[in-house]
Amino acid sequence: MTVTALLLIGLVLALLALRQPVVVILGAATAFCYALISHGNVGWIVVDAWEAANRELLLSIPLYILAGNLMSRGAMAERLIRVSKALAAPVPAGLAIAAVISCALFAAVSGSGTVTLLAIGPVMYPALVQAGYPRAFAVGLLCAGGTLGIIIPPSIPLILYGVMTQTSVTELFLAGIGPGLLLIILLAGYSIARHWRLRGAGWDVAEIGAAIRSGAWSLFMPVLILGGIYSGYFTATESAGVAVVYAVLVETLVHRRLGIRDLHAVVIETVQLLGALFPVLMLALSLNVFLTYEQVPESLVAGLASAIDGPGTFLLFTNVLLLLVGCLVDIGSAILILAPLLKPLAVAQGIDPVHLGILMTVNLELGYLTPPMGLNLIVATIAFREDFWTICRAVLPFIALLLAGLIVVTYVPQLSLFLLARPG
């Protein structure tokens, strides 16, 4: 068994050195497990992968990504920003707060951190600099604000966690609200503390009215998606489908920003993302079937029982592990591979699986801001035309803020669970 395990590790390291994509590494590792460890039929990988993708819940992922891309390409994001700016103008650091609120509103539609940064960043960055905010602060704030996209529901990582651990996605979405609000408050509070004196004139009622009129269709989108899910009127999939149709109608008929060619381009762009995500998802679920069949999670729980002597130790271990993993691999792959292994450990320590899902997402959110793999850092270098290391330095205080948020989310489970009618 030891030789086999060493061979498996060697295979993975060799494929990493040969710069293989995750899908190849995961596929080869799964095939290895089926062939050599359980002496089974490698064809089961195909059967399991097929069954994995043959699920209704997964339909929400392509539809949410498409809705976010449509809003980003169209005029909806701009109009959300206008409303936020008009409302936050006279507040200290009003424009910075408007940037955070815009990110949060957009996040309540897109489910993606990078799409949120790309939709809000290019509009808000020059506005913040022009209003007197230091460049480093503006870059850091927008990079951090963009990460709200993955914790504020609907969230693609939370859907992936729900699929991998058979946890209710609706409960996960509800649980994301508290931590999402906490992070918004932390970012807004830090902005006020740093730039108390930067504020606009008083409220301009005419501008507020005009902004709300022009942004009414955009403002209704989060209400439609989240209101539909939380009221029980729509499932997550139905809500995503309605969101796409709504976004297409608004952008083509009301805002008249997108034509047929644009729609085609947005769909193909979305398919490209799905072609990267879904094969990994399918193979990860296949590997998960193997691990479950071989009772690996149970063995892991038993093996670590002596080392982990309580929920506190487990939470510390999980956070350190995820912070390291988040620096190296993308959040989707990390959740797909680690969630099924961590869930039984968490349950054995009396931790709610919904809380674990939120904790994983908030923790891996930091991976967007940490070099060398921080996706929002890479995107920001191009979107804001700033040097990579300048951006890395700019996000440091915001990493500290998100870490503070992570500690609260980790050790105050009620923050995530208070809407679920069960105590943490």
Binding site: L18, A53, E56, L59, S112, L274
Partner: protein, 175 residues
């Protein structure tokens, strides 16, 4: 090389067309299901299964579209493990190994589909035979093998290996 380039172009065109049409079906059936529930009081019992199949077509064809854009998820922390001077050879090797993986997956997939066909397996809701749709797995895997082996043979045809960019923001992950 020109023939290979033309082949890749045709392949990409077919994948994009198929994925686009399947995505329209996916959006259509999910929305129709909700609309039908609102209008007639009952949803369409077949809608979600058709949506699932449409999604399968989208994501399976999407694998090729992602390959053509060089946008598969790839951990980059190990890129410096081997000397940079070997990049030329490594690029060919990288594509060759990916091509062989897809070729192996195509063969295994074909065997599974043959078995499903022999068993006459049918889907629970729609009652359709499963194998014709399942056959997409070996088909797209074979196409992936051809594509990556072409990239290995003619590296000039490889897509640029991007980090994430605004045009391709999710090259490292779609979340």
């Amino acid at each position: 090389m020109r023939t290979a380039e033309r082949l890749l172009k045709i392949l990409s065109g077919l994948e994009r067309l198929g994925a686009f049409l399947a995505f329209l079906v996916l959006i259509g059936v999910v929305f129709l299901d909700v609309a039908s529930r609102e209008v007639t009081g009952t949803g369409l019992h077949w809608a979600m299964q058709v949506g699932v199949y449409a999604n399968l077509v989208v994501v399976l064809l999407g694998i090729g579209i992602t390959s053509a854009a060089g946008a598969h998820l790839r951990p980059r922390f190990a890129d410096g493990w081997l000397p940079r001077a070997w990049d030329g050879v490594l690029g060919r090797l990288q594509e060759g190994v990916t091509g062989l993986f897809f070729a192996a997956f195509a063969i295994v997939g074909a065997l599974v589909v043959a078995e499903t066909r022999e068993l006459g397996e049918r889907a629970p809701v729609l009652g359709n035979l499963v194998w014709p749709l399942q056959a997409l797995i070996p088909a797209v895997s074979a196409a992936g093998a051809v594509r990556h082996l072409i990239y290995s043979a003619w590296p000039a045809l490889r897509p640029r290996q991007p980090a994430a960019s605004p045009a391709n923001p999710e090259a490292s992950g779609p979340s």
